[in-house]
Symmetry: C2
Subunit: 359 residues, 2 copies
C-alpha cells in the first residue's frame, strides 16, 4: 500500500516532496456525486449511516487527489445527545430546537458518551481506515465557543449577541456551559482518534467575532482543554478559525500543531505572528475558486511563495468550499499546488523528503 | 452659543477637555423616540423629508449628550437616482431591485447630481446647522466597495461571492463600476460639506471581507478618490471599516484624518499599526452595551487607558448600535467617557485644552 504521508509530515513540520493540500468541506454540494446521494438522504441521514458517511468522505479523495480525507460529519452532531434537537432547515442552516439560555438549561443538558451516543461517527472512521489505502483521515469537532454560539443563538448568527450577553451578564452560566461542552468535545475527539483518525481539527469558525480579551477569558481555557486532550493521543492537531488575525497568538497558546490562517492575512505575515514552532494551514479565499484559472494560478503561486518552502505548510482554503464552486477549479488547485511546490519547479529550494517515507 | 468642539479638535489630534464620544447609528430603533416616528413613517420617508430627518438626527443629541450629531440617512440613498430601486424589506435589510451584474448594467446607470437627486439630504443638513447649537454635524456616505457590494449582491451578504466574482472574472466591469461610484460618492460628500457638514465619515463596513491584496488592487484607489475630494474641502474625514486589522495600513494610505478601529484589535495595538500621525475612533463592541454597568465601565476604562490620553481619540463603538440596546446603558457610556477622561480623574495626565476653545 502506497502511503501518502505529506499531510501528516507537514503537520509536524517535516520536509515533504510537495506541499499537501486538502479542502474544508471538500465533500459537499458543489460536487455532483455528493448531490446524487443528497437527493436520497438528508445530511443527518448520511451522518447516521456509517457506510454512507464513509462513501461521501471518499468521493473527493477519489475525484480530486487531495492529500487527506476529512470525515463527513457535522460539528453540531453532539448537540443531538445533549437533548437540544437539531434540524437543517432548507437554506437556513442549522436550527437548534431548544436553545440554551439559562443555568437551568445548562443543568438540564444530558450527559454524552461518545461511544454510545456518537458511535455512528466512530464506526464511519473504522470503515474509512479500511478503505482509505494510505491517505490519512482527519477527524474533527467544533470548538467549544463555536458550538456554544449555535446552541445559545439557536442557529447561525451575525452578531452573536445572545452568546456575548451570556458571557457578560451571566458568566457563571457561560463557564458552566463551556466546562460541559469542552469535556464532551474532548472525549468525542479522543474517541475519534482511538477509532482511527490520524489527525484532528477543531473548528472555531466564529471565534473571530470576539475581542482578544473576551477570547482569552471566555474561550481560550476551554479550547485548550479540548486541544490538550487530543494532543495527549499523539496525533497532529489543527486549530482552525476565521477572522482571527488578532487572536492568532492566543490560539497558538490554546494549542495545536497547526494553526489555520484565513485570506485576510498574508500567509507569511500570519506565520510570523505565530512563530516558526508551529505549522500553518491555508489560506486561499474560497471565492477565488470561482475565478478564471490564470487568476487562481497567480494566487496559488503567491501563497506557495509566501510559505517559501518552509516545512509546515498545508495548503487549504481560508474557510469551507462554497456551494456552487466549479469542481474543475478545485481539482485544478490540487494539481497546481503539487506542481508548483515540486522540485525543480518548486518556488523555493528547501529540503524535501522523498514521497512514501514514514512519518 | 456654547461651542462643543471636542470632536472636531480630536479629529485633528488637538488636546481636548474630555474625550469626545458619539455612536454610529445613535439615531435608531433602540430609542423609543425614534420608534414613535417610525410608527408613522418608513425609513425612506424619514430620509426624504428633511424636517423629519433633522428631528431624528437631533434626538440622540438631546437625549444622550453626545459630542457630535450624525445626519440621519442611509448609505444606499445614492442607489435610488442610479436607477436601481431600493426597498427595506421587513427584517431583511436593504433590497436592490435591479442588481448590477454586467457591463451593460454599469453602462445603464443613471448619472447622479447630488444637488438635484439627493437635495433632500442637503436640505436636512442646512436645517440641522441652524438647530444644532454648537454640536458639530457629521455627514457621510458609503465607501465605493461597500456600496458596490450591495448593488452587486442585491442586498446584504455573508460571502460577497458575486462581488468578488466580478472583481476576479470581469475586472473591467468592476473598475468601471467603481470609477462611476467613486465619482458620485465624492460629489455627494462634497455637496454635504458645502451644505454644512463639519466632518464626514465614509463607511466601508464590509471591506474586512477582502484580503489585503484585493483591497489594494480593487478598492483602495476608489476610496482614496472619495477621501481626497472630502479632504480638499478642509473638514476632518473619518475612514471607517470593521474586521480590518490587516487592512489598516492600506486604509490609512487611502486616506482619512481618523481611522475606525473595531473591537477585534486593542485600541493601542491598532493605533500602533497606523502610526501617530492619524487619529482613531472606536472601539467598544456594540454587544457590550447589553452588559451590566460594572462590566461596561471596566471596558470603557480599558479603552481610555489604551488611548493613554493621547490627543486624537474619539470614543465610539466598533460598529453601529444594535436594535435592542438599553438606552440607559448608551447614556451611561457617554457619561463614563466624559468622567473618566476628565482631569483630575483622567486616566492619563496628557495636556488638555479648556472646553469651548476654537478649533
Amino acid at each position: 500500500m502506497e502511503i501518502n504521508d505529506r499531510f501528516l509530515r507537514a503537520c509536524r513540520r517535516k520536509p515533504v516532496d510537495v506541499t499537501p493540500v486538502w479542502f474544508m468541506r471538500q465533500a459537499g454540494r458543489y460536487m455532483p456525486e455528493y448531490r446524487a446521494i443528497r437527493e436520497k438522504y438528508s445530511l443527518l441521514e448520511i451522518c447516521y449511516q456509517p457506510e454512507l458517511a464513509a462513501e461521501v468522505t471518499l468521493q473527493p479523495v477519489r475525484l480530486l487527489g487531495v492529500d487527506a480525507a476529512i470525515l463527513f460529519a457535522d460539528i453540531l452532531l453532539p448537540v443531538i445527545p445533549l437533548g437540544l434537537g437539531l434540524e437543517f432547515a432548507k437554506g437556513e442552516g442549522p436550527v437548534i430546537g431548544k436553545p440554551v439560555r439559562s443555568l437551568e438549561d445548562v443543568r438540564a443538558l444530558n450527559p454524552v458518551d461518545a461511544e454510545t451516543d456518537l458511535g455512528y461517527v466512530l464506526e464511519a472512521i473504522r470503515i474509512l481506515r479500511g478503505e482509505l489505502k494510505g491517505v490519512p483521515l482527519i477527524g474533527f469537532c467544533g470548538a467549544p465557543f463555536t458550538v456554544a454560539s449555535y446552541i445559545i443563538e439557536g442557529g447561525s448568527s451575525r452578531e452573536f449577541l445572545k452568546t456575548k450577553t451570556m458571557m457578560y451578564s451571566a458568566p457563571e452560566v457561560w463557564h458552566m456551559l463551556m466546562e460541559k461542552l469542552s469535556g464532551i468535545l474532548a472525549e468525542y475527539l479522543v474517541a475519534q482518534i482511538r477509532a482511527g483518525a490520524q489527525a484532528v481539527q477543531i473548528f472555531d469558525s466564529w471565534a473571530g467575532a470576539l475581542s482578544p480579551q473576551d477570547y482569552e477569558s471566555f474561550v481560550l481555557p476551554y479550547s485548550q482543554k479540548v486541544l490538550q486532550a487530543a494532543k495527549a493521543e499523539n496525533v497532529p492537531v489543527i486549530h482552525f478559525g476565521t477572522n482571527t488575525t488578532t487572536l492568532l497568538p492566543l490560539m497558538k497558546r490554546a494549542g495545536g500543531d497547526v494553526i489555520g490562517l484565513d485570506w485576510r492575512i498574508p500567509l507569511d505575515d500570519g506565520w510570523a505572528l505565530l512563530g516558526d514552532d508551529v505549522a500553518v494551514q491555508g489560506n486561499l479565499d474560497p471565492a477565488l475558486l470561482f475565478a478564471p484559472l490564470p487568476k487562481i494560478q497567480t494566487r496559488v503561486q503567491d501563497i506557495l511563495r509566501r510559505a517559501a518552502g518552509r516545512p509546515g505548510h498545508i495548503f487549504n482554503l481560508g474557510h469551507g468550499i462554497l456551494q456552487h464552486t466549479p469542481v474543475d477549479n478545485v481539482k485544478a488547485v490540487v494539481d497546481m499546488v503539487h506542481e508548483y511546490s515540486r522540485p525543480p519547479f518548486a518556488l523555493s529550494g528547501a529540503e524535501r523528503s522523498r514521497s512514501g517515507e514514514e512519518v
